[in-house]
Amino acid sequence: MINKFTATALTTLALALPAQAQNFDDPVEFAKQKDMLGAAANGDATTPWLQYYGDVMADTSGYKKDGPHTICFSNAGVNNPWRVVGWNTMQAEVEQHDNIAEFVVTDAEGSDDKQIADIEDLLAGGTCDALIVSPNTTAALTPAVEKACEQLPVIVFDRGVNTDCPVTFIKPVGGYGFGIQSGEFIAANAPEGSDVLMLRILPGVDVLETRYSAAKRILEEAGLNIVGAEFTDGDRAKTKAIVEDYIQRGNQLGAVWMDAGATSVAAIEAFEDMGLDVPIVTGEDQQDFLQKWQEIGMNTIAPTYPTYQWRTPILAALKILDGEAIPGPEWNLPQPAITNDNLGDFVNASMPPLHYAACGCEGMPGYPERWGGK
């Protein structure tokens, strides 16, 4: 039901304000990622965190230095289970390399302001040979990254910034790809014209914004009715309350599209608790979602944003400091999707429910205890 108050307010504001500074709905990038999803990646498929698409490389001979090295990492935070798994994986990777003398880490606890200050601190410390950054949000962290690029080689991964000064930007195929995978699945499997609720974690992060815009485009083109797009802060309690509210309003939801999988089970439970059939609820490679999927026999898809991407920046940093060429300015990793066909490969009951299956961590030091498994 369109709320007149909000509609009027928003229209007035939309007319009064200029367009957004960043463009998260770029058809060119959309097409590029769609192609990548169908293409074959270079490199060994058993080590997907080293694979890449295309053949554009960055010349790093100018950064060659003698080891051992000090590698610095400005982390946006470990405030969701995906990041927790990624961070554990990265630490395990660091342990595997003798020529990393020191690994200096700052945690911005999910605050842009703090991360800007953290990067300033790391630069002031003067001991970093290379800087890895996982930015909290895209626009706010751009000046800090630009400043850092002037002093040392910078690697950005996971979320991006609005500058291409870093040596490389590591990510799986991308947000558009993620949105395409889940959007196309819903378009193909939900009844014609049914209602879809879109749930998002938070705004301002490029890889999440692009997931949303890509899926929205596909769902609208397929004639589905998007009844709402809400922010959940990645929180279960909020997610469940939002879904319940929409059901209470009388919406017969044919699908719930989610831009990530940490709270998919909460959305599923909302339907279960109200005694309704569970429609298509998309997720991610988090174990509790995969196990629930298997248990109740759903028809759904889990695109992944593999946590093995946390291994790559360490390897990239070492290669840069060795003067070895690496894919750049973008390093695109494979981005597999889980469907009923390959679900069995990813479900693992001995790993904790909040563990992400595509972590590439099976052979690493401390597995499975470091990741909470038995």
Partner: protein, 321 residues
Amino acid sequence: MNIPRPKNLAALAPFLLLLAAIAVYVSVAIATGQTQYLTAENLLGLLGRSIALGITAIGQTFAILIASIDLSVANLISVSAVLASSIMSGDPSMMLPAIAAVLAVGVVVGLINGLVITQFEVNPLIATLGMALILQGLLSATFNNFAGEVPEEFQVFAYGQVGGISISLIFLIALTVAAWVFLRFTRAGSNIYSVGGNPDASKLAGMRTTRVVIMAHVICSVCATIAGLYLASRLRSGAPWIGRDGVYDLESIAVVVIGGTALSGGRGGVWGTLMGVMIFSLIDSIFNIAGVDAFAKQILRGVIIVAAVAVYAVRSRRIEA
């Protein structure tokens, strides 16, 4: 009539706390062998991490001095940042109108807060809490992402430097000095202390206490909007969550209180507040240098707030609520 301000140990306490914090900072830096953090530049930079908190806290000092409180500052900061950023939208010629608009909003919000508290006799906690919710709701209903953009010329507020010292730091010090001069040397300033310390006596002495309360709240809100301008400059844009992210409402109350200003009003001042900001910054940095879990510092902060207030209040024999 000048209400004499107590010159006893309580007034020195924030300064002693600050010295203790500095001592811990220095020893941790030396102990972990990271003496590069002990340069004058770095120590000055410490305060630089908390400019937004400092500006907000100066304003909050005025509210607490009159035995009131303002819980709406965090959301007002968000409103101010988003509004400034949207109006400017990258255009340098719109800087002044944006600043004017934002300050006007501050005045209006402060006025409303003050009026609700004085005319409707609503407890300040509830009044400003209600305002916070209203601001939060209005903001979130219209914006859900970064809005607009701040032009390069305005970014100078947060990133600019003069003679090696950041402009924002100079601004903070200047603001503190201005506030101190106002409180110490003007009639309006001493009225604030009177109304806070003894509202009944002030009324009997013929003071327009309502005006004083409203003025204090306007000052508090305007400071919050200035903090919002600073943050818009620093993050290059404004977003509806930046006030909440920084927890500026509770933290500004905390640093004011640690700085020796009593919640019951009438005692304390802005220099104590600045020391409180410095103490919190030092705690932040101590934890960073020592490599201790950043979340653990929250625990320490909570304890320090209670301990500091306990120290200041232990001499009071009032039966507390």
